[in-house]
Symmetry: C2
Subunit: 196 residues, 2 copies
């Protein structure tokens, strides 16, 4: 597990681009162009952390978390569920939460069909980044509203200064981040990682 | 290959829900809840069809096509590239095309960072559905604008009556659909497949 995290940290240190004190650009391997080797490694780390816990559903919010959630689901042998931005014409019986988009600063409505989440489900919420925790908290509330069991949260990269971990603490479940960043320096391009 | 397509067709016949003469709901396995077994099978079919053709990039438009494109890219050993809806604050040097969303009927701007697509690239455009062909045609134009080589289009499901194939014909490359639907009957819920 530690080896997986080390490799991810090296990857981020080499290819991540600091574009502001709060923004790390990972477009070359995780967010715009997707490198399956990175996603596979991150999926492996998260799947190992939650193996044997009876997860039945890996939940994320589209679109940034989709491939990570998919890869974790694939490795755990369960389905992934994507909360959609805005209800499509073909969706039925919907759970909704409105949040502010973390990257675009506009209101976004997250929608989940009730038919895919119920009391028998044991849910792992997965996303690429943990920053303010807004999106994951909204997903966790939807899990509660569906009377499903929330087992934990898992993130590839935690931006520690966003205090998302504090927001998610109220759900009382494990929060796993594969890589934790404590500081981004746009002047030097430096990325400071937490000591693991 | 024929066996892969047969299995996908059976899956769609069993779990797809006809919600209108032009709409097939695949939310239980492909679009909202994602079944990795279906995606793996579809990815296998597309990757086999384009194996050995020197593909360097699998391109799609987020979010519906993301996991299929990822799975195809994973199997071909290359990166996937997702045209994003609207430019994020962290994107640089952007190719843009505005299209009408096929499911929501609103204008959507597709954005691609120029740095990830260039003259050396051999691109396969992948999506879940071929319907009107609008999204794929916009992506193909961006490939041309980037002076990359378009190798082909691949879709999991073609809705033949959308005439998307005719729209894409002008690009002069192979168009592969794993499953082709000729008619949806909302009264009976029937799905008619093309004879393969």
């Amino acid at each position: 597990m530690e080896e997986v995290c080390d490799r991810l940290r090296q990857w981020i240190a080499q290819q991540g681009q600091v574009v502001g004190p709060e923004f790390l650009r990972v477009d070359s391997f995780l967010n715009h162009r997707i490198d399956p080797r990175f996603v596979d490694l991150a999926g492996e780390g998260i799947a190992r952390a939650f193996a044997g816990q009876g997860i039945t559903c890996v939940l994320t919010a589209e679109a940034a978390g989709n491939v990570i959630a998919y890869e974790v689901a694939r490795k755990l042998g369960v389905c992934a569920l994507y909360a959609k931005k805005g209800a499509a014409a073909t969706m039925a019986g919907i759970l909704r939460r409105t949040i502010e988009s973390p990257t675009k600063g506009v209101p976004v409505e997250l929608c989940l069909s009730r038919e895919y989440l119920g009391p028998k489900d044991r849910v792992l919420i997965v996303d690429d980044f943990l920053y303010r925790g807004t999106t994951s908290a909204a997903l966790a509330e939807m899990v509660q509203e569906a009377a499903a069991t929330l087992v934990g949260f898992a993130f590839v990269i935690e931006k520690r200064f966003g205090k998302g971990r504090e927001i998610l603490a109220r759900f009382g479940v494990p929060i796993v981040s594969l890589v934790t960043i404590t500081r981004l320096d746009p002047k030097t391009g430096g990325i400071e990682f937490a000591e693991e």
